[in-house]
Structures are given as C-alpha cells and as structure tokens.
Symmetry: D2
Amino acid sequence: MHEHRVHVRYAETDQMGVVHHAAYVPWLEEARIAAMKDLGCSYRELEQAGIMMPVVELELQYRRPLHFDDAVAIRTTVAVLGPSRVAFSSELVGPDGQLRACGRVVVAACTTAGRPTRIPDGLLDMLGGG
Amino acid sequence: MHEHRVHVRYAETDQMGVVHHAAYVPWLEEARIAAMKDLGCSYRELEQAGIMMPVVELELQYRRPLHFDDAVAIRTTVAVLGPSRVAFSSELVGPDGQLRACGRVVVAACTTAGRPTRIPDGLLDMLGGG
Amino acid sequence: MHEHRVHVRYAETDQMGVVHHAAYVPWLEEARIAAMKDLGCSYRELEQAGIMMPVVELELQYRRPLHFDDAVAIRTTVAVLGPSRVAFSSELVGPDGQLRACGRVVVAACTTAGRPTRIPDGLLDMLGGG
Amino acid sequence: MHEHRVHVRYAETDQMGVVHHAAYVPWLEEARIAAMKDLGCSYRELEQAGIMMPVVELELQYRRPLHFDDAVAIRTTVAVLGPSRVAFSSELVGPDGQLRACGRVVVAACTTAGRPTRIPDGLLDMLGGG
C-alpha cells in the first residue's frame, strides 16, 4: 500500500462549494504514478522506452465531499491482472481521517503506435505480478 | 435517448497524442445536463430552487482513443433508480461512427446543506421515473 | 473578426459561484483555432505538417463574471506580428451582450523539435500577413 | 519572496509533449495562496469571513517548455496596489534552475455579493501594504 498526498486547489472546486468530481481523476493518476515510482518504476522512463499505459477502465465512488485547501491522503494498492493489464485501487481520505472516495483504474500497456503489448518482465516483477 | 455533441479541445489532449481520460468526465456532465434540458428540466433552475445533484458514482470504459478536433457524439439514456437517484448511461461515438467509450454516472439529489433529499415529483416524471 | 461560441460547463465554475479564471484559457484556444479554420487553415493539418504554434504570451482582463450555462460569444481578430508570430485578440461577451473579459494570445511557430521556424507563406497570407 | 513547488501532472501535458499553457494558471493560484499563507493570511478563512479575491488581470510569458514529472519552483512576490488590489508576480523555474515562465496576477477584494470592498487593514499589513 502506497500513500500519496494532494492538497486541494481552488481551481478544483465548483459552485456547489466542494471539489468537482472530475478533479479526482488526475489525483488518481498522480497517486498511481507515485505508487509505481515507490516500486522502482518511473513512468517517465517507461514512456521514453516506448511503452505507454493508457487508462482503459475508471471507477469512482464519492462518499463525502472534499473542500478547498483540504489535505487528501490517497492510499493505493497495485494488482497485476495479466501480462498487459494492471489495476490500481485507491482510497481517498480527508483531513479528518474519514473516507471520502474510492477509485479503481485499470491501465493497459501499449506501444507508441497504440498496439497492445506485454509489460516487460522486470516491471511486472516490481508491480508484484512476477 | 439524447444526443449531445462535443468538439475535442487541444487542451484536452495529453502527451500520448490522444484525449486524456479525465477530459471525458466534464463531457459526460455536459451531456447529462443537456439530456435533462431536453426532458424539460433546467439544472441551473434546479440549483436555484435549492436542489443539487452531485455525482456519487462514475464509471468509464475506454475502447479506442479520441483525438484533437474530433467531433464526438454522446448518446445518453436516463434511468431513475429511486426517489433521490438517477443514472445516466452514455456512449461516446467518434467521427467515424465507432464506439470510443462508455460511461455511467449516478447522481443523488441533496439540499444546498448537503443533506439527501427526494427529487421533486414533477422532475421525476420528466426523467421518466413517475 | 471571427465569432466563436462556447457554453459554460458546470466543471468550469468554482466555489465563488462563477467561472474560474483558468477556464477562459482553453476557450481562447478553441476560438483561436476556429478563427484559423475560418481563414482556411486547419491547425490539425498544420501540426501534421510538422509546424506547431505554442503560446508564448497570454493576457486576460476579467471585467464581469460569467456563470454556469451562459452562452459566451468570443470575438477574435488576428494580427501577424512577424514571420513566426501571430497575435489573437479576443473579446468575450456574455448572454446579455455585455463585455465580460478581453484576452490576447501570441503564438510562435516552431518545428516538432521545438525550434523556431517561419510560418509558411500560404498560411501567412491566409492570416492576413502576406 | 515566497517559493512554492509543484510537480507536473501527466494530465497537464498536451499533444505537443509539453505542459499545456493553461495548466500554469492553477499553479500561479496555488503559489499565490501559499504566499498569502506564509504571510499569515489563510485564503480559506478570508472567504469564510465574506471576502473573496477574484482575479482581474492575468499575464503569462512562456520562455521554455516544462515536461511531465518536472519539479517546478514558483517564486512569488506580493505588491499591494491599493486598498482593494494586490499583485502577485511569479517566476517559474524548471528542475535545471532555468526560468521557464513569468506570471503576474492582480486580484481585487470583493464581497460575497460581488461588490468591490477594501482589504481589511490587518490583512493589508500582512501583505506588506500597511
């Protein structure tokens, strides 16, 4: 389990006075990339090596709102689903320790030309799927 | 079934050269609000009347990428799930007529104070749940 | 003078209850690309031909707020500043016909490698700088 | 001079392979709010006390691109322009210490009803305009 922190930007609020639901999506991405880095895998280097990991599935359940200036802890677990798919499940916890939202993202390795490809073995090992 | 069109903005692309997966979320919102308007319900007036409909669940499956300048057709169906919940299911179709993504959003009526509330009967009728 | 219309998205509001100031920036971009298209120049094709036009200067003055669901008219004029620079000046007008904001963006042609380059003569003619 | 750091999100890139120019605007906001907090002024509490500080002017010059995963230092200086206006000037510096962009934002104090108002004396003192 990897923990990443974000701090709510004013631009991420909407006129309900809470964080807009779309703003959680780049947070999940940031937390996912940080979790991969913790495991020894730089997503930047992965792309430079010609492997991209676009999102193929996204799910979010919103339990309680988040507000401007809140510190949010994003706790992410990684699960290798197959030779080209990885799932990242996240809990988003507010400054009071309460669960605010749950997210799940599946990414699928592909080449720069957009064709499905296998995740390199070394990386698969790092992600726990070896 | 309601159809809404969006035109991909340059700002919605990312360095993979395709539309970033987070950009679809405001599109679904725009399509949902347009679908409600088609049914006779102005979301702007609903909020002015003290009823908000925050998103409580979001799901997206991404099938094929979309690109800058693409015209995207978003076909949305509405289903009333209960006295305070409505689901909007959308198919996103690219300029070639091919399915690019499927989305589903559930909203839950609440007061401006954030407490759950019933959707007014008149509106529920309009949304097909009367 | 070219006119382009946008319709304010809910996601573009913030907790002040108005459109967030950052949301105007992709609108200016959309209006700029539409103005170029009106003049016969597809920005999509320009990039495919290896010429990019990143923004090098941005200015915005905000006069009166815009709100969710507003229709906004963006009136843009184009001025060629030199062989590689073009300025786009825009007025953003609200649904009541009142000026809401003024913007000015300067773009500079460069190659895909990021090196400055001349705008092709044909395009420069289209933009009024021949 | 106040320094704030941001870390480039993948979602902030565009298909040129660099950070999209609109993404700098929420960064300036985040840096501005952090600078105010350093000076003893919580923007969150300011709004709760009924004073908002919407942006009335925005300028950005882009010198060199920023990339995904870059650490960006934003160095901001504050200048009180009058009883209701404050200017924030920022330099954005890349991971190599080179200047990437300069920004300037002017905010104007107003009430929750949107009417201009004076910045409270205590806050004006904190911002260096006493």
